[in-house]
């Protein structure tokens, strides 16, 4: 890390511009969301089949046959598709981080917004984690653990894998220097 930064570090402003996350993070979010929404699509298909059979066997329910075939599952799939396109994009836009000489600021949340600053001197230990989806997209999650009960671990997902490791080394160097 640039040591020349250090003396001015406390003067850095915490409302400054955020660094955006890796562009692939949007896609990782989409895959994660898709996996969670698949059961919904399956449920829609099952309901549709059951209703179609009920409409055939029971004359009282014949009105159900008026709904075009695939109408329900089609609507659900369209909704899922729209969600997949827009929600991860908004989530990505809402997230960001700001790394300075002595602190890391993590911002996230579309509806429930949170803006956390962790002073590097308070970091107990650091993790870099990659799940299967993250590995496929070449991104990683950096986690800072603090001794506080609130924000005991602060996650920063969607960093490029190399960047995440480099940041871990930076923070580690900072911890080492501070505790000497």
């Amino acid at each position: 890390m640039d040591n020349a930064l250090a003396p001015h570090a406390t003067l850095l402003d915490d409302e400054g511009a955020l660094t955006r996350l890796h562009p692939n993070y949007t896609w990782a979010l989409r895959v994660g969301m898709l996996l969670r929404l698949v059961p919904l699509v399956i449920a829609a298909l099952v309901v549709e089949v059951v209703l179609a059979e009920a409409a055939q066997s029971d004359p009282d329910l014949a009105a159900l046959a008026l709904v075009p075939q695939g109408g329900l599952s089609g609507a659900v799939m369209l909704a899922v598709l729209l969600l997949l396109i827009f929600v991860p994009q908004r989530r990505y836009n809402a997230r960001g981080y700001q790394m300075s000489a002595d602190r890391l600021r993590v911002v996230r949340g579309v509806l429930w917004h949170s803006d956390t600053v962790v002073p590097l001197s308070r970091v107990q230990h650091i993790d870099v984690h990659q799940g299967p989806v993250e590995r496929f997209f070449g991104i990683a999650t950096l986690t800072l653990h603090t001794a506080g009960t609130h924000n005991a671990s602060v996650h920063l997902p969607g960093l490029g894998a190399d960047l995440a490791r480099a940041m871990r080394e930076d923070i580690r160097a900072h911890i080492k220097r501070e505790s000497l």
């Binding site: 002073p119 001794a147 506080g148």
Partner: protein, 504 residues
């Protein structure tokens, strides 16, 4: 001398007796249940005795084996415990990781002169090593030893060896007493601890008994019959007697409530003494289970001063320390559970804190937050009033409407007089609470992170919650104007980044 260090030791043999007595305790309930249930017909008393005997024999055997198979070694750099009857576990705790050694004496152990020694590492809960039970002398020897080891590493080596060799190690000098509770104080405290919890326990026991006993407790018909019998009886004795009966019932309830509070308080806090020793704060309390806990001063992260609606009117407050070791509820760090503010101030200053005074620059939360909270408090009642206005007889809707007004007024009152915060050069104060003020005091330096959080409404209305990362506790200041939240965060971060404190 060094052979002392590596010799595996066992806990006191009498702890087997305590284990055996524990198994007797465990055997009683099932035996009673069998004796009073239908199992086994006429021979059920025989069955009950056999089951009890088997439980006692097995329990005692396990206690003995557990004792035989548990050894501990007080090593050069760590304490090692090997335990387990079938699968063996070996655990080592380095001295430098041991935050403190606490001693607990349950009633039975006290009878035999034993203590349970717990090496607290700050990991919390079951990760800590406990030696149950060793003799009182061995307990204080271990405590003394660990402290010397940890603190004065080079010098302590010789001292600890000497301590090991010496048959009776010298106890640490008695500290300065900061706070203690006389029996009179305990009785006053107990009266404020009025509690009807005993009825909940009784109900639970009844449900438990129902599983074994032949009374069909949850059969409505039984109660119906009983009620109809009782009500005809009650009707017969006339209205005057009914009033007398009701008063008597309330009286009994009140007496039981006070008695429960007194009993619980006296058993928990009997002989409460808080001292300031060289090692930190030492608290001893308890009538049957005597505990002796030491909290190092530098581990105190924040103070919490709480009070109740009634006791606040008499100036009674409770002071507790927030510290990393207090994650679990049982290890509560109440250091002055029932004290006047003049008694609390010296304890706070001994811990390196100070209480707010006239110079403290209290600030209120945002006005938008006040409005939203008041509307939120009244909203449910207003909805109910609306429904009643449509569907209930005339005038009914006035009741929830009145409730809505009261709720909104209380919310405004809380904002006006109770919800406030302040920051100065070294501390942050946060107060809230409707009927009684609850105060938290944290040091700016000992915070671990700062978060500004906003829900959808808060974003729209421009206020935020400031969450402070506090070791061993939560601290949040709600409803701050966004600019103020940012200002507080910037101030706190300036203090934090100026000093490294990750190693606490």
């Amino acid at each position: 001398m060094s052979s002392h260090l590596s010799t595996p030791r066992r806990t006191a043999p009498t702890s087997v007796v305590i284990g055996a007595l524990g198994s007797v305790q465990n055997a009683i309930l099932p035996a009673l249940a069998i004796a009073f249930s239908g199992i086994g017909g006429s021979g059920r008393f025989g069955v009950a005795i056999a089951v009890a005997a088997a439980a006692i024999v097995i329990g005692t055997g396990l206690a003995y084996l557990g004792w035989r198979r548990l050894t501990y070694v007080v090593g050069e750099a760590d304490i090692r415990v090997e335990s387990g009857i079938i699968s063996r576990a070996a655990r080592s705790v380095p001295y430098e990781r041991i935050q403190d050694v606490s001693l607990a004496e349950p009633l039975l152990a006290r009878v035999f002169g034993l203590v349970a020694v717990k090496f607290e590492t700050g990991a919390g809960g079951s990760e800590d090593i406990t030696l149950a039970y060793v003799t009182t002398a061995e307990g204080s020897r271990l405590r003394q030893l660990v402290r010397e080891r940890r603190d004065e590493e080079a010098v302590a080596k010789a001292a600890a060896l000497a301590a090991l060799a010496a048959p009776a190690p010298s106890e640490q000098p008695a500290g300065q007493v900061l706070f203690q509770m006389s029996p009179q104080r305990l009785i006053t405290f107990g009266l404020f601890e009025f509690s009807l919890a005993v009825f909940a326990v009784l109900l639970g026991l009844l449900q438990y008994a129902d599983n074994f006993v032949d009374i069909s407790l949850w059969d409505a018909r039984v109660w119906e019959r009983w009620l109809s019998e009782q009500s005809t009886w009650v009707a017969r004795i006339g209205p005057a007697a009914q009033v007398v009966g009701a008063i008597a019932a309330v009286f009994v309830l009140v007496v039981i409530g006070f008695a429960t509070g007194l009993l619980r308080t006296i058993t928990r806090d009997w002989g409460f003494v808080l001292e300031r020793t060289a090692r930190g704060f030492r608290r001893r309390r308890g009538l049957f289970t005597r505990t002796d806990v030491v909290m190092p001063v530098h581990r105190v992260q924040a103070l919490a001063i709480t009070t109740g609606p009634l006791r606040y009117r008499f100036g009674w407050r409770s002071l507790s320390f927030v510290s990393l070791a207090s994650d679990n509820e049982s290890a509560s760090h109440a250091v002055a559970p029932f004290a006047q503010i003049e008694e609390i101030a010296p304890i706070a200053s001994a811990a390196g804190f100070y209480l707010p005074d006239e110079a403290t620059g209290w600030q209120r939360s945002s006005i938008a937050y006040r409005t939203d909270k008041a509307i939120g408090a009244a909203l449910l009642f207003v909805v109910v009033a609306g429904v009643l206005a449509l569907f209930a007889p005339m005038g009914w809707f006035l009741i929830p409407l009145g409730a809505a007004l009261v709720a909104a007024a209380l919310s405004l009152y809380e904002w006006e007089l109770r919800r406030r915060h302040a920051i100065d050069d070294s501390q942050i104060f946060a107060m809230h609470g409707l009927l009684a003020p609850q105060l938290q005091i944290a040091t700016r330096l000992k915070l671990h992170s700062v978060e500004i959080a906003q829900g959808p409404l808060a974003r729209l209305r421009g206020y935020a919650t400031l969450h402070l990362g506090l070791g061993g506790g939560e601290m949040a200041i709600r409803g701050l104007p966004l600019a103020r939240a940012r200002e507080l965060r910037a101030k706190i971060l300036t203090t934090i980044t100026a000093t490294d404190f990750a190693h606490i």
